[in-house]
């Protein structure tokens, strides 16, 4: 079911990819955070949204495009390595879609939030992991980056993905009525 690339999926993938490009080439892709790096990335958010709405194949394609964007705009050695920049990102779509599908029956909102967190962590852990494997950073450094960057990024992703999906499906976290 998830593997059919229908017209609708092609179009959604293309448009979400366009947003990925927009985020990747302007300052909007980064949100200032009170961590050492100063910024948390949100460029992976269209990937997660695509995975939730249209399954793991669309998510993987978007993850691939996200990776290619990072590869092309990357100015540090680690990001110019396709195995670090592109390969791990393909899995964001897979894990996010799985998390959403798995938890959807339990609670829609919870599933969305968890999916966003899982997707973000996939990105952080797999990319850093590959960077360690390829020798760009040592394990302890990578681990500390993972925690320091990964947590704010997961939080931000959960909030934004939540806002989009909830608005799209006309749901609110619990409330059925406007807060007036």
């Amino acid at each position: 079911m998830d593997t059919r690339l229908t017209v609708r999926r092609i179009v959604i993938a293309g448009l979400l990819a366009a947003i990925t490009v927009l985020l990747g080439t302007t300052q909007l892709g980064m949100i200032p955070v009170p961590t050492a790096a100063g910024y948390a990335t949100i460029i992976h958010i269209p990937v997660i949204i695509g995975s939730i709405l249209d399954g793991w194949l669309v998510g993987s394609i978007l993850g691939f495009i996200f990776g290619v964007m990072t590869f092309i705009t990357g100015q540090i050695p680690a990001l110019k390595d396709p195995l670090v920049a592109i390969l791990p990102r393909i899995f964001i779509g897979v894990t996010a879609a799985l998390a959403y599908r798995g938890l959807r029956r339990w609670n829609e909102v919870g599933a969305v939030v968890t999916s966003a967190v899982v997707g973000t962590l996939t990105n952080t852990i797999l990319v850093l992991g590959m960077a360690v494997l390829r020798g760009y950073v040592t394990l302890p450094v990578a681990a500390s980056i993972a925690v320091v960057q990964g947590i704010p990024e997961a939080v931000v992703a959960a909030i934004i993905v939540g806002a989009v999906i909830l608005a799209w499906k006309g749901l609110t976290a619990g409330r059925r009525k406007a807060d007036l």
């Binding site: 749901l171 009525k177 406007a178």
Partner: protein, 325 residues
């Protein structure tokens, strides 16, 4: 007359200045807006109308050479409190429904008032007033999911979102685009109400002169980034040749009046609606004996029961019969 609310002189604006794709949108635009008036801004595509009105709520700032004062405030001053300006001057863009982002209608309309930090009861009251103005039943719509509404309804929600800020001035940048004729009429009715009953200053940027006729008292014509003419609507519409030169057409009614004038039948003032035109032409027609009866019934068809006077010219009646009617 008191000090104008907004005065703009020689505004210039270039998008992407310094790059090979730079576009000079404004090249010396002037504007004067009086408190409480309804002003139309009209011009061909690319004339700079949007760019001009985006200066009026501080989205764009005057460049070195232009001047802009809003209620005495110099907009070129970096210390100007732009948020305060935006509370008083509301700007509605071309597809306002694109700005919706909250899951429920009521929350989206309440966004503006909440940003102002107003207390809950006041926020609710404002949302109710705004929804009433745009014709959305409060109980029926307030808890609906935003995206479950039709395009027209969503547009009304977006407009309500700006009205909830209760600005003194409302600027609409081509707000009728994409609406069907009924939608257009309803929106223009709303603007009339806002102007006449709520006393708001209304500025309407339009492509069709017809949108302006029962609303604007004064009109500014923009072309090539400059203000070509600013004045009372009838005076501006009468300048058919000037308008045509800048790629605009006066409403059909005004064109007919001008054609009549060219044939020796001058009407006392430029008509803005079919009714007015009928009333203006009728006395002249009545001079022609064969036309008199038809004129009387024709007038009552258009809903005008003005009595026919005898101050028309026979020649005009003839000209009308032969050339125009």
């Amino acid at each position: 007359m008191s000090e104008p609310l907004i005065v703009a002189r020689g505004l210039e604006h270039t998008y992407m200045a310094g790059s090979p794709l730079a576009v000079r949108a404004l090249n010396g635009a002037d504007l004067e807006v009086q408190r409480g008036e309804a002003l139309g801004i009209i011009g061909p595509g690319g004339a700079g109308k949007s760019t001009l009105v985006q200066h009026l709520n501080g989205l764009l700032r005057p460049s070195r050479r232009g001047q802009l004062t809003i209620d005495g405030q110099d907009m070129a001053d970096p210390r100007t409190d732009v948020q305060a300006i935006r509370r008083r001057i509301g700007l509605i863009f071309q597809r306002p429904e694109d700005q919706l982002f909250k899951p429920l209608v009521g929350d989206d309309i309440a966004f503006g008032p909440r940003q102002l930090g107003l207390p809950r009861p006041e926020v609710r009251a404002r949302v109710q007033r705004a929804m009433a103005l745009v014709g959305l039943d409060f109980e029926a719509f307030v808890d609906r999911p935003t995206l479950s509404l039709s395009g027209g309804e969503r547009r009304r929600v977006a407009i309500a979102g700006v009205l909830a800020l209760e600005p003194e001035v409302l600027i609409l940048d081509e707000a009728t685009s994409g609406l069907d004729p009924q939608g257009r009429r309803e929106l223009l009715d709303l603007l009339r109400r806002l102007h006449r009953q709520e006393g708001k200053t209304v500025i309407l940027v339009a492509s069709y002169m017809e949108d302006l006729v029962d609303l604007a008292g004064r009109v500014a014509v923009l072309a090539g980034g400059r203000t070509v003419v600013q004045g009372e609507i009838r005076e501006v519409l009468a300048q058919g040749e000037l308008l045509q030169r800048h790629g605009l057409a006066a409403p059909e009614i005004a064109q007919i009046a001008e054609a009549l004038s060219a044939r020796g039948c001058r009407l006392s003032r430029t008509p803005l609606s079919v009714q007015e035109a009928a009333a203006e032409i009728a006395p002249h027609l009545a001079q022609h004996p064969a036309m008199r009866e038809r004129t009387v019934s024709g007038l009552s068809e258009v809903g005008d029961d003005r009595r026919l006077s005898n101050d028309g010219s026979p020649g005009c009646a003839l000209g009308v019969e032969r050339g125009v009617l």
